[in-house]
């Protein structure tokens, strides 16, 4: 069955190396490469993005040489699109779109921005992977010169990216959410605000289950300020139907993402790395919701086909792991799978971006409610319970917590969540801090992962 795949026949599902993808790419017909453009319905030559990982490695994403990728056309499309985001943002500026930085809120602000015509939301927060993907400390060193040094979350790379002016265009508007998220990133936002001279601050309240309505009212008031700023910037009045449409688009993305996660965790039809990248797409759709939606549809069709034809990409019998906190170094996921594990449950702090926005409620209230549900906005116990539910459903055999030295919420949450998982599921927990960007995972971490997987194997 190739109908969903533009007439192209995917090989037997496998995780392949950088070099293998380069070889495989030769078999993709030229006319197929021509099909994929960002900012649809635009079809201009400059907007093509279907390139093998090698293209991006040449431009500095060196770590791609060490990762393993899903060998489907849909996954190639995913990687081409994600790696192309910097270029896409500069293009957006060139073609007259407004580039809006949405920082720290983990979900809802992009929904508001997308309701405005010709506005492109992007997430500077996600530049935290750049030092790892580039195997370069430049952004971290730049952040240090601006005041945020070592022993802080790698999200400080975003500050370096603002200072460098070469990773994304200087935004037309910076919206920064702060509150019940984390101090490290709030500090990044604060220094970005000083560096750029302007920033629209938005409150993110603590979740208090018995106080949801007043907190929603507060958030709605905050969103009205965001909308006013966007109306002033664009000269466009926001209509309720435009907002409702943006919510519907966001929900479509969230629904497909949730299904993809389920397919990957239960049927092993997509690798952990791709699923993490997909999950983070719920935050800002990699700056192009229309094409991102199309990519998700393609991935979903691929994954469903693999499930129906019983073609997993990772051995289903692999050791089943739950994972807490997204690994700053993506190579960790590749390594875990290489060593015979697969990921069946995650709590990457962005679960709120998977919650559907209730389309039967007034739009702003509905966005506010989904925001308050955010995993970082509540208690650590709630985060643990969220993970435990998934881990239990998918029979996780162990939990890996990949923390960050000096990351404020890691320091306070990791032990509590680890102990709750251990107590309730009776499974072993491995906690380590992700080392700074490097070519390889450090020996100590490798040994610890190896020993942990050995332990899990012995418990079978």
């Amino acid at each position: 069955m190739t109908g969903f795949n533009f007439g192209y026949q995917d090989p037997v599902p496998a995780r392949i190396t950088f070099e293998e993808w380069d070889d495989l790419f030769q078999q993709i017909p030229d006319e197929l490469i021509e099909k994929f453009h960002y900012f649809p319905p635009n079809q201009d030559a400059w907007s093509k993005y279907l390139f093998p990982p090698q293209v991006f490695a040449i431009y500095g994403a060196r770590h791609l040489r060490r990762l393993k990728f899903d060998n489907s056309l849909a996954a190639l499309r995913l990687w081409g699109f994600v790696n192309n985001e910097s270029e896409r943002l500069f293009r957006a500026r060139q073609i007259g779109r407004r580039v809006i930085a949405v920082m720290g809120d983990l979900g809802p602000l992009a929904v508001l921005v997308n309701a405005f015509p010709d506005c492109v939301p992007f997430y500077p927060d996600c530049w935290w992977w750049t030092p790892f993907v580039m195997e370069s400390k430049v952004l971290l060193e730049t952040a240090a010169r601006l005041g945020i040094g070592e022993a802080t979350c790698y999200s400080r790379a975003a500050l370096g990216a603002f200072a460098k002016h070469s990773y994304f265009p200087d935004p037309d508007l910076i919206i920064a959410a702060t509150g019940a998220s984390c101090d490290d990133y709030s500090g990044v936002e604060n220094l970005v605000a000083r560096l750029t001279g302007s920033c629209l601050w938005v409150e993110t309240p603590l979740r208090q289950p018995e106080n949801i309505e007043p907190l929603s009212d507060l958030l709605v008031a905050e969103y009205h300020r965001v909308i006013s700023a966007l109306e002033e910037l664009t000269g466009t009045h926001l209509t309720e139907s435009a907002l409702a449409q943006s919510i519907a688009q966001a929900n479509a993305v969230r629904t497909m993402t949730a299904r993809l996660r389920q397919l990957a965790y239960q049927d092993a039809v997509l690798p952990a790395l791709e699923i993490m990248v997909i999950e983070f797409g719920c935050l800002h759709y990699y700056s192009d919701i229309a094409e991102w939606t199309a990519i998700l549809r393609h991935l979903l069709a691929t994954a469903e086909y693999r499930r129906q034809t019983r073609q997993p990409v990772v051995p289903p019998e692999a050791l089943r792991l739950a994972w807490l906190t997204p690994p700053a170094d993506p190579l960790l996921l590749t390594y875990a799978e290489d060593q015979g594990a697969r990921i069946v449950a995650t709590e990457y702090v962005i679960n709120q971006a998977l919650t559907l926005i209730d389309q039967s409620q007034p739009p702003l209230t509905a966005i506010a409610r989904s925001h308050i549900d955010g995993s970082l906005n509540g208690t650590s116990r709630e985060r643990a319970e969220m993970l435990i539910r998934q881990a239990q459903a998918n029979r996780a055999e162990g939990l890996i917590i990949s923390g960050i030295l000096g990351g404020s919420h890691c320091a306070m949450e990791s032990r509590l969540i680890g102990s709750l998982v251990r107590e309730q599921l009776q499974i072993p927990v491995l906690e380590f801090d992700v080392a700074p960007p490097n070519r390889e995972i450090d020996r100590q971490t490798k040994t610890r992962i190896d020993a942990f997987l050995e332990l899990l194997r012995s418990r079978r």
Binding site: L146, I148, A176, A180, C182, D183, N190, G406, M412
Partner: protein, 374 residues
């Protein structure tokens, strides 16, 4: 001559608190200066600020928290298990200022069975009506929590009275704080911190006469202090009661004429409006305090610092932070740039291991300020 015997007064107060507790009064422990003590008093509770911290308890706190957690939080958690004063508390009130303090109550809840309330203070500091309205709502929730435990309902008149008493206390402390600003300081910052710490432990009625007495003694005392010591501003993380040694060390060589420490002068700034809706007045006052650096934007903090520097002819800044105190640490570079003054940066975890090294650094810093090394 020692102006204040804080330890003696604190020991006596501990006995008093035990008696009060035995008589059924409820003790409300709190950590942060955004907690409206007037409200706690109006609900019949005895508010006590829990601002003790030391190295041994911080080390023991690592049984519950990672090593890279804030030393104050680690120490506070441990003290709730072992410190006699902390163990007297009938309730604990936390504010979500920094990430670590925001998450501490949950951990406390897993270790001790004291009722805990988390007061949500909007992290954004611009005084938009919806934010202040929500904070007022939070204060009403706090009032419900406290009155449930004390059995004393809050009436507006009683709350107004407590607000007036609070204003008198802050005013008295501000008048004594001014004594450290004169060319030959009549009061040291160590003494001021002792008084402020007593203000969070004793009843205002007991403290007001003591302040008057100390002020009288201070102004009539002949000081044997350096005539024109370098004038410093002290900034940074919370300074716990056990950390007076650092202040003393600084004051051996210099005069601290201003500070922006939450256990120091930030505690006594401003007055609460009287005569209006007391909950509203409390919400506006506490929401609008000189912002903790973790609030966004925190430009008002920088303005306040610049104003202090200009008014008090500050020559240098001592910037002390606890290890992993992100809200303050991230401000170091910009504080140096914004003020243009020499700045001594100290980070610590309550350990005294580097005390002599610190002494040398302070001496060198003072030499820079006075030009003695030229």
């Amino acid at each position: 001559m020692e102006l204040i015997n804080r330890q003696d007064l604190a020991a006596r107060r501990l006995n008093e608190l035990q008696e009060l507790k035995a008589r059924g009064r409820k003790l409300a422990g709190y950590f942060c200066l955004y907690v409206p003590v007037e409200l706690l008093r109006a609900a019949g509770a005895v508010p006590i600020r829990l601002a003790r911290a030391d190295y041994p308890s911080s080390q023991l706190g690592e049984r519950h928290l990672r090593a890279d957690a804030c030393p104050f939080c680690k120490s506070s958690l441990e003290k709730l298990l072992s410190d006699p004063l902390y163990r007297l508390m009938d309730m604990l009130i936390f504010v979500n200022t920094c990430d670590m303090m925001r998450r501490l109550p949950e951990l406390v809840g897993t270790r001790v069975s004291i009722p805990v309330f988390q007061l949500y203070l909007p992290r954004t500091a611009e005084p938009f009506p919806a934010r202040i309205a929500e904070f007022e709502h939070q204060l009403r929730r706090l009032a419900d929590f406290v009155t449930r435990l004390t059995g004393t309902a809050i009436d507006d008149q009683h709350l107004q009275n407590e607000i007036e008493i609070g204003n008198r206390l802050r005013s008295a402390l501000r008048s004594i704080e001014a004594l450290r600003v004169s060319p030959v300081p009549l009061l040291t910052t160590g003494e001021l911190f002792d008084l402020i710490s007593l203000a969070t432990l004793l009843e205002p009625a007991d403290l007001l006469p003591l302040i008057a007495q100390i002020k009288n003694r201070a102004t009539n005392q002949v000081f044997n202090r350096q005539p024109t010591p370098p004038r410093l501003l002290l900034a940074g993380s919370i300074i716990a009661e056990e950390e007076r040694e650092v202040i003393s060390l600084l004051e051996e060589r210099a005069a601290i004429v201003a500070d922006v420490i939450c256990t120091g002068a930030r505690f006594i700034e401003g007055d609460i409006t009287t005569g209006s809706d007391p909950f509203r007045a409390l919400a506006e006052y506490y929401f609008n305090r000189i912002p903790c650096p973790c609030r966004r934007p925190n430009t008002a903090l920088f303005q306040h610092i610049r104003q202090l520097i200009a008014e008090r002819q500050v020559q240098g800044i001592v910037f002390q932070t606890l290890l992993y105190c992100d809200p303050w640490r991230f401000e170091a570079r910009d504080l140096r740039r914004a003020t243009g003054l020499p700045m001594l940066e100290i980070d610590h975890d309550y350990s005294r291991q580097h005390f002599e090294q610190l002494r040398t650094r302070i001496e060198a810093f003072v030499e820079i300020l006075t030009g003695a090394g030229k």
